[in-house]
């Protein structure tokens, strides 16, 4: 399975290595650097690289490369998923995952890696189990440690969740306020072509939960319109049989934050597009061009469109842009040629607009194609698919929990070709 792990920063330093079997020399990373040097964008490095004796499977996250070394025929997805899980765990423990933070919590990182894999096999991966084994750093603990002079980051007892049938939940959870929050988040992935026609639109949905319930609650969640969901993936806690039979989510939840399910509403359904762009971008011979974009709301069921941001990756031959916008802020990065317009909220009575001139480098041919604009937005209190939670029931415990459901629609990969 996973033989070794190297973490490499953006300047190409291997700042952490961990070996679960025999030691693999750091020089193996040269193959990775070679592949990296062939690409201009850091995210274009192929995820699987073959070397004469090993395979390097890597992911790119938070400007770091996590490179796993394997020697035998293993499922690459297994390794990729696991690397992402390692990152998730670091983020969970240190609230972020970058070089400084990892170095700062170096011993914990090492302990975590050691606990998560044994001989390359996943050992304890569930956040609650890990947290019982290795306590996450916190301010209070640091203080007590310095005062009392001992640090007990490592627990001496076996975590309870480790072997139960529900490894994701520990026993003996206690809260004074019992609460359960559900966020129904839907992301619209879309490509809109020049004329405003939808080329492809699909919805990637998630139900993220924050559960603070005492004891061993057994929950059921039902939907008004479950028939919308035909392509779903569940957290291991969800009982698949009940879903298949009754279209009800029945589960004993993990404690705290977790993603209960994700679903996909495909291209074969109609997806309402909440915003539209009017654009006029042209390049002229002689080193210049015009740029004008207006954004407006479309099908939003009366809800306001907020946190709107437009990103325009201009062609490399663009030298500068001078733009003025009717609201928000815009900026242009002359190195990456990326123009960002932070629009804010769309007021339907006064549509946000940006316009101005483009300056091209002298002597280069005019770009043959216009940039593709990425749009980001958020709409509160609306699930674009129309999915609605019907009710939440709790069994197994006596208290009455506080329940809340929130709907959010936002842009996923929302691209407008111009």
């Amino acid at each position: 399975m996973i033989h070794s792990l190297f973490i490499i920063n953006s300047t190409g330093d291997v700042f952490l290595e961990k070996h679960w079997k025999s030691v693999v020399n750091k020089s193996i990373c040269d193959y990775f650097f070679e592949a990296q040097s062939r690409q201009t964008n850091p995210e274009d490095v192929p995820p699987v690289i073959a070397t004469p004796h090993h395979y390097l499977i890597n992911i790119y996250r938070s400007s770091l490369y996590f490179v796993a070394v394997v020697t035998t025929e293993v499922p690459p997805l297994f390794v990729i998923e696991f690397l992402h899980r390692i990152c998730d765990t670091f983020e969970d423990y240190f609230s972020d995952c970058n070089e400084t933070i990892l170095k700062e919590h170096f011993v914990i990182v090492y302990e975590l890696l050691d606990e998560m894999l044994d001989n390359g096999f996943p050992l304890a991966v569930e956040s609650n189990v890990l947290k019982e084994l290795i306590k996450p750093p916190n301010f209070l603990r640091t203080i007590t440690d310095t005062v009392t002079g001992k640090s007990t980051g490592v627990s001496a007892t076996l975590p309870t969740g480790q072997l139960s049938n529900i490894p994701w939940r520990r026993t003996g959870v206690k809260y004074t306020n019992n609460e359960a929050y559900f966020d129904v988040i839907e992301e619209i992935d879309a490509i809109i072509d020049k004329s405003g026609t939808t080329v492809i639109a699909e919805i990637q949905g998630y139900i993220d939960c924050l559960i603070k319930l005492s004891g061993m609650p057994d929950l059921t969640l039902s939907f008004v319109n479950p028939r919308l969901l035909d392509d779903v993936s569940f957290h291991p806690c969800v009982r698949f049989k009940r879903w298949e039979a009754e279209k009800i989510l029945s589960f004993v939840p993990p404690d705290g934050h977790f993603r209960m399910m994700s679903y996909h509403i495909g291209t074969n359904n109609m997806v309402a597009i909440p915003v539209y762009l009017r654009h006029n971008i042209s390049f002229r011979e002689g080193g210049g061009g015009r740029f004008e974009v207006t954004i407006g709301p479309k099908q939003t069921m009366g809800k306001p469109v907020e946190n709107v941001v437009l990103e325009v990756p201009f062609p490399k031959s663009v030298l500068n842009v001078t733009l003025t916008c009717s609201q928000g802020k815009n900026s242009f990065d002359p190195v990456s040629k990326l123009m960002t317009w932070d629009v804010g909220k769309i007021d339907p009575s006064k549509l946000p607009n940006i316009k101005g001139n483009i300056t091209l480098q002298t002597g280069v041919p005019i770009p043959e194609s216009n940039p593709t604009i990425t749009v980001m937005f958020t709409i509160q209190q609306m699930a674009v698919s129309g999915l609605k939670v019907n009710r939440l029931d709790m069994y197994g415990e006596k208290y009455k929990p506080f329940k809340g459901v929130k709907y959010i629609t936002r842009a996923g990969k929302f691209q407008v070709r111009t």
Partner: protein, 931 residues
């Protein structure tokens, strides 16, 4: 207080200081020191000098300190094996600690100390831990077996740990089961000897399926992979396993999903294709695959590589999901390229308009590789969907107008393919293409353009000027371009002989005299000879109608595809190569798809019976990329065996007839002079005719080819063949004739078990694709190392032939004499002794009638076929020949042949310990003597 302080030491005597701290009496100081040591270790500093000091800290009841020391031990034990031994006692003691966490930690660390000397001390504690009351310890111990196996496989097998591991498969705790499965699969990965003791049966599979529902996601991956290696008994079992696996398709972990897809894809092969179950499964597979495409790009990449295989095997699964493969402009390049590939596979008449609009969009992007592939994709669409060809050509012309250099070059390469597919349809655009001649600087684009000019020379007024302009820099061109230029000019000459003589002479002399490249010279000489002997034949050969190119390019060869389907979700599926082609030191065990048994019994048998038979080498059908090479070959007709044969047969006949009349008129003085004066050229020509003329005759008796597979049974494939023996090797001589309307490709052959263990010694090598109405022959070398099973009659061999159309079976008889080995001659004494030793009831007599030879010719003939005459006697006017022969499997046969002068009937007596083979030997004698 952060851990970064451990990294910051600037003083010189760092190691020395640490040593002092490690030996300090204060516990806290000790711990801090160990932390510093580990920090140094992880950034790659060598702290192995502190080994003894760190190990001394091990005897503590502080779990954190213990863990840190264990970490250190794992890293450095290898370099300090002698000191590591002192740690053994602590491990043994820790394995009996009341705290299960410590027991587990000890057993875990033990396995990570990769020192041979230590391993034997660890067997006892490990055995105890495998039976520990706490499942946490058991599951850790299971993994430890795999670790130990990695260090010392023999020890693990001798100590019976494999059985213990197998017992854990029935453990009550699903986590333990999952880890046992993981350990087993890792052991199987490296060891062949463990195979037998760890084989799965339907009972264990059942246990695994139960554990599947309850174990962790990672365990599920191991279990699913294990299940996918199991071959179910019948379709009922396969169906029930599929039903229990399908819920995994809705798992959030992509690795679980893809492993479940693998199990289902494999087991579907067994199920009846028309059954409801299959329809249902196909329906269920599509959504999870689509979902994988909204995950992280790395996951998308692996998913896309696998989807590429899945849509080739079962195009139904994603046929309506074309749009999810549309490219987003900020996808990583590796995702973009894969998506494009799958888009083309899914293109059909219904969605072509959308696809084309997308491709045009992509062709305007910035990334050069992606743009090139998009342009190529447009060409592939044109070839695939005839109705859209015109629109595709239009799009390509638009792209050429952009004058972006690499777009134009790529467009010209694909347009050449379109011309091949739809001859005489789009030639109106040639003028536009010619405008861009000067900008082409890549060999492939130049070669394609030259091909187009040569092919349509009669419609391009200034074709000669254009080609001449290329000729100026002939020496500096790439071989591909040179070959193409040679062919194009010869074509031009044949089409417009009047004004292009000089040009053709120029190119022929450039190719034959000024070039060192053997391919180019050979082709030059062949053209030269063709032109000078028989221009009509030259026309027929050079301007022959070209077979149409097939619609689907880049397809993976079917046997390889089937094997890769068994490896979905693994590295093999990412590389599209079988694992033994790239993973080092792997056994040759290859997986094959199970088959639906209903009505296809022989196939199942062949597949199961001959696991060792070499499957055809993974040759990928040449894609568009290599089509140009293909084209060159076909223009000439040289390198393909069939056409070469054809040319050979044409040349000797036509040469004498044509020489006096045609050639000189046509070629005029210049070439004639060249032919006469240029000594080098003439010599070489002489050499050529030699090659064509003499074919050495072997005296070995090779029966005439017979029809083994008639065209009506082979769906258009007719197969004739025979057996021969050359240079101590048995060959199966095959002639494939394609009587169907479409080209055939992907040929492979497999033998069933047979009496003599005959099997192909190398993969079938045959011209592929085989165009309609053509035949190709192949010599398949055989060896006798295959599996043996007695057939009735003895000489029967059952063969399966496979191509892109289907799998066909036939049986044929191997003539016994090809199995006679060259070493069959016996000493006289031995012969006499053996003759006496074999009981008389083993003697079989028969008559060979109608032979017109005397004893000497008979003896010579038989000798040529490895029947050795040991002695000859004349008894009462009759010639008695005593002969011996030996078969490949070591069976000896003694023979007495009675020849009466003037009589055409011979009497043959055979003596062998194995009587069964006598009839076949008689037949062989009969065949040889009547030849």
């Amino acid at each position: 207080m952060t851990d970064s302080k451990y990294f910051t030491t600037t003083k010189k005597g760092e190691i020395f200081e640490l040593k002092a701290e490690l030996n300090s009496d204060k516990k806290e100081k000790k711990k801090e020191a160990v932390k510093k040591v580990i920090a140094s270790m992880t950034v790659g500093k060598d702290v192995s000098a502190l080994f003894a000091d760190v190990v001394n800290c091990m005897q503590t009841d502080n779990l954190e300190l213990k863990k840190l020391v264990y970490l250190y031990l794992m890293n450095y034990a290898k370099t300090q094996p002698d000191v590591a031994i002192i740690s053994v006692n602590t491990f043994v003691r820790d394995c009996e600690d009341p705290n299960p966490l410590i027991r587990a930690l000890a057993v875990r660390t033990m396995g990570c100390i990769r020192v041979d000397k230590i391993t034997e001390y660890l067997c006892e504690p490990l055995r105890k831990c495998l039976k520990d009351e706490d499942p946490y310890v058991r599951k850790t111990a299971a993994v430890c077996v795999a670790k130990l196996h990695d260090i010392n496989a023999q020890l693990v097998e001798d100590q019976g740990f494999l059985d213990a591991l197998k017992d854990l498969l029935s453990d009550s705790n699903p986590m333990v089961v999952a880890n046992a499965v993981a350990a087993i699969s890792e052991i199987l990965e490296t060891s062949d000897s463990a195979q037998s003791s760890l084989e799965m049966n339907s009972n264990t599979i059942n246990k695994l399926l139960t554990a599947l529902n309850e174990c962790t996601e990672w365990g599920q991956v191991f279990i699913l992979d294990s299940i996918s290696n199991y071959n179910p008994k019948d379709d009922k079992e396969a169906q029930s396993i599929c039903e229990r696996v399908t819920p995994r398709l809705a798992h959030a972990n992509a690795a679980v999903v893809l492993s479940a897809v693998k199990v289902i894809m494999k087991y579907m092969e067994i199920l009846d294709i028309n059954s409801d179950t299959v329809t249902m499964l196909v329906k269920k597979l599509s959504p999870p695959l689509v979902t994988l495409l909204s995950a992280e790009p790395e996951i998308q990449y692996v998913a896309l590589r696998n989807i590429n295989l899945i849509v080739q095997k079962r195009p139904d699964i994603l046929k309506t999901e074309m749009k999810v493969f549309f490219v987003k402009y900020n996808d990583p390049i590796y995702v973009k390229l894969e998506k494009l590939d799958i888009m083309i596979r899914l293109t059909n008449q219904g969605n072509i308009a959308q696809v084309l609009a997308e491709l045009k969009e992509y062709a305007a992007e910035v990334d050069v590789d992606f743009v090139r592939k998009s342009v190529r994709a447009i060409g592939r669409c044109a070839i695939k969907v005839e109705q859209a060809a015109e629109r595709c050509v239009g799009t390509l012309l638009d792209l050429i107008q952009t004058k972006v250099n690499y777009v134009v070059q790529e467009a010209i390469v694909v347009i050449k393919d379109i011309f091949r597919k739809y001859p005489n349809k789009y030639e109106s655009i040639i003028a536009t293409l010619c405008e861009n001649l000067d900008t082409l600087d890549e060999p492939e684009a130049r070669a394609s353009m030259i091909w187009i000019i040569g092919e349509y020379a009669e419609r391009i007024d200034n074709a000669d000027e254009l080609l001449e302009s290329f000729l100026e820099g002939f020496q500096d061109e790439n071989t591909q371009v040179q070959l193409q230029l040679l062919t194009a000019i010869v074509k031009l000459f044949l089409k417009r002989p009047t004004d292009t003589q000089e040009l053709v002479q120029q190119v022929l002399s450039l190719a034959t005299q000024d070039s060192d490249n053997p391919d180019l010279r050979d082709r030059g000489y062949i053209y030269w000879r063709l032109l000078s002997t028989d221009p009509a034949a030259a026309k027929e050969v050079v301007l022959a109608e070209k077979p149409l190119i097939s619609e689907e390019t880049d397809l993976i060869e079917p046997t390889l595809l089937d094997e890769l389907i068994c490896h979905i979700a693994s590295l093999a599926s990412v590389y599209h190569k079988p694992p033994n082609a790239f993973v080092e030191g792997r056994g040759t065990l290859r997986r094959s798809l199970p088959r639906n048994q209903s009505g296809e019994a022989p196939l199942g048998e062949t597949a199961a019976a001959a696991p060792a038979a070499p499957v055809q080498q993974p040759t990928v059908i040449p894609g568009v990329d290599s089509l140009i090479g293909d084209l060159l070959d076909m223009d000439l007709g040289g390198p393909t065996p069939y056409q070469q044969q054809q040319m050979m047969s044409q040349m000797p006949q036509s040469a004498p007839a044509a020489q006096p009349q045609g050639a000189i008129d046509l070629l005029g003085e210049g070439l004639d002079n060249l032919l006469g004066g240029g000594g080098g050229g003439l010599d070489a020509l002489g050499g050529l005719s030699d090659i064509f003329g003499s074919v050495s005759q072997s005296s070995f008796y090779t029966p005439p080819q017979e029809v083994w597979l008639p065209a009506n049974k082979g769906k258009g494939l007719e197969l004739t063949g025979t057996f021969a023996r050359r240079n101590k090797q048995i060959f199966m001589e095959l002639t494939f004739t394609n009587k169907a309307m479409q080209p055939m490709l992907g040929f492979a052959i497999q033998f069933n078990k047979n009496s003599f263990g005959l099997q192909p010694a190398s993969p079938l090598q045959i011209q592929s694709p085989l165009p309609p109405n053509q035949s190709a022959s192949a010599s398949l070398p055989l060896n006798t190392q295959g599996q043996v099973q007695k057939m009735e009659p003895l000489t029967t061999i059952q063969v399966a032939i496979k191509n892109n159309i289907g799998v066909f079976y036939y049986s044929c008889h191997v003539p016994m004499h090809v199995l006679f080995v060259e070493e069959g001659e016996m000493d006289k004494k031995d012969f006499l002794a053996s003759w006496k030793e074999i009981p008389a009831q083993n003697e079989v007599q028969s008559t060979i009638s109608n032979v017109q030879h005397n004893a000497d010719t008979v003896s010579q003939k038989l000798r040529n076929n490895n029947v050795f005459t040991i002695a000859k006697r004349n008894v009462e006017g009759q010639d008695m020949l005593y002969q011996s022969l030996s078969l490949t499997n070591g069976i000896r046969v003694l023979a007495e042949l009675k020849i009466q002068p003037g009589m055409s009937n011979f009497t043959l007596s055979l003596k062998s310990r194995v009587q069964d083979i006598c009839p076949a030997i008689q037949q062989a004698f009969d065949g040889i003597l009547h030849n």
